[in-house]
């Protein structure tokens, strides 16, 4: 499913929800008041600095112990790969939590954009997950506990950036996989992510989200003509922790230019608020799925698994 169709899917569900409200309840449950942890971290991605060297991909592969790539990380032919009849560039998947894509707008030098989870302040993946596999940490990362994931793909459909992917190791072992901001190995100890550290160009600036916003606006001001006047992710979708400075309009580098400033959670809550029964039934349903899955999967150690779910807050997979 392409990004657009996924978003349409969600929009359609929201529309169905809204249509049945008969007015009145709309927005009653809207979120958007959560301003986030004050000292949480983020990354400012400066597209004018990135040279498309793919070192960040290599660093992520090593740090997250991902499978060997098909092509070396210094092979630039990957920029020519397209999917879905040329409509889609490379996307992140279970063996690559980050990919760099090249855009060649007319009359301009190529522009490269690194793709990974944007660690939304109010993550749609999190709010769409019925087994509470996701956690937004105080450091700013959106992490997940693979041991409770039932592979339902809700988060994949909900994410406005097409990020979560699944590893299909066995029929019932589908488990979400995505960038976790290097939370376990680095972020929680105050260290920058592996991709940030390797970047030769400092295209990725790590810091407190509130400082990055200042830095972003200052760069725009001090270098007239270098950037469009926008820090993408400052407000979009309720704010993201990975944000972008671009020399050209964001739609030309593959972003949705008008995602709105409402977090997706508002829509989801609205939708769910309309049919309260759904709230009551779905968790039970998914817990049932989950137990079923776990029962079928292992015979010896599944009790172990379930015990671990609650104390391993969002352990990385």
């Amino acid at each position: 499913m392409s990004g657009i169709s996924r978003r349409k899917f969600l929009a359609a569900s929201v529309a169905v929800g809204a249509a049945t409200t008969l007015g009145g309840t709309k927005k009653a449950l809207a979120a958007g008041s959560f301003s986030g942890y004050p000292n949480s971290m983020g990354v400012l991605v400066d597209l004018t600095r990135c040279i498309g060297c793919r070192s960040c991909e290599a660093a992520c592969n090593k740090e997250q112990k991902l499978p060997d790539p098909n092509l070396p990380f210094d092979d630039m032919s990957v920029f020519d790969q397209t999917f879905h009849h040329g409509t889609q560039k490379r996307r992140t998947d279970e063996s690559a939590y980050t990919v760099v894509n090249r855009y060649t707008p007319e009359g301009s030098e190529p522009i490269y954009r690194k793709v990974q989870c944007n660690h939304c302040a109010e993550p749609a993946c999190l709010s769409s997950c019925f087994v509470n596999a996701y956690t937004k940490t105080k450091e700013g990362a959106v992490i997940y506990d693979g041991s409770v994931c039932v592979g339902c793909r809700n988060c994949m459909i909900a994410c406005p950036f097409n990020v979560p992917a699944y590893s299909y190791s066995s029929a019932f072992g589908a488990v979400v996989k995505k960038c976790i901001f290097c939370h376990e190995t680095r972020l929680k100890d105050g260290l920058p992510p592996a991709c940030v550290e390797i970047c030769p160009q400092e295209a990725l600036t790590f810091g407190k989200r509130k400082d990055l916003l200042k830095i972003g606006h200052q760069r725009i001001q001090t270098h007239p003509g270098r950037y469009i006047d926008r820090v993408y992710g400052e407000k979009e979708l309720g704010g993201t922790h990975w944000m972008y400075l671009s020399p050209i309009p964001v739609e030309e580098v593959g972003f949705d230019p008008r995602p709105g400033n409402e977090p997706i959670i508002s829509h989801v809550k609205e939708f769910l608020g309309v049919v309260p029964m759904v709230l009551a039934i779905w968790p039970a349903l998914f817990t049932g799925f989950h137990l079923l899955a776990k029962n079928q999967e292992g015979h010896g150690d599944h009790e172990h698994d379930t015990e671990h779910q609650h104390d391993e807050e969002g352990g990385q997979q």
């Binding site: 098909n70 070396p72 999917f83 063996s95 260290l191 160009q201 200052q218």
Partner: protein
């Protein structure tokens, strides 16, 4: 004259010569070994002599720190006539750990508007080097300057041979 006296005299003469020649040029290193990434790449032996002959002006790379005026728009309002600083090496201002928590908290105390968001060492080198090399047809490819170590080859998966469209589920 005892041997000791001779030695003392010699040392004094030597000291005088050294002091006398402590002009900027003599301070300049002929070569600088850039060795902060030696795990993945061999150190780069930067030929400072050759580059300083090429550059018209020290400030092209050293901003306002060499006492030779400055050409950088952003430095000029405060540093048009600044003296030479005691330390002018890149690493004295561009730290090698720009994102460590220690450095980030130091940075958040920074009061000089134009000194915030200062690039770390690696970025400072690359911006300066690549920018100029592009203009002057110098080397710009990663391995033109950085020979990879065996660990570097492994890091970039030099030997990966799968086909481009294999695997993944796009």
């Amino acid at each position: 004259m005892s041997a000791k006296q001779i030695l003392t005299t010699l040392m004094m003469v030597l000291a005088l010569i050294v002091v006398g020649s402590t002009t900027m040029a003599a301070d300049m290193p002929e070569q600088v070994s850039l060795d902060t990434m030696v795990e993945l790449f061999e150190a780069v032996e930067f030929d400072h002599d050759m580059h300083s002959e090429l550059g018209e002006d020290c400030s092209v790379c050293h901003h306002h720190t060499t006492g030779t005026g400055t050409t950088d728009d952003r430095c000029i309002s405060c540093h048009a006539n600044s003296d030479e600083l005691e330390t002018v090496a890149c690493i004295n201002c561009h730290v090698s750990d720009p994102f460590s928590s220690e450095h980030l908290s130091r940075e958040s105390q920074e009061i000089y508007q134009f000194h915030i968001d200062r690039p770390g060492l690696k970025a400072a080198y690359h911006w300066n080097c690549i920018g100029c090399h592009e203009e002057m047809d110098g080397p710009t490819g990663c391995e033109d300057c950085h020979a990879r170590t065996p660990e570097g080859d492994e890091f970039y998966h030099k030997d990966a041979t799968g086909s481009a469209d294999e695997g993944g589920h796009h």
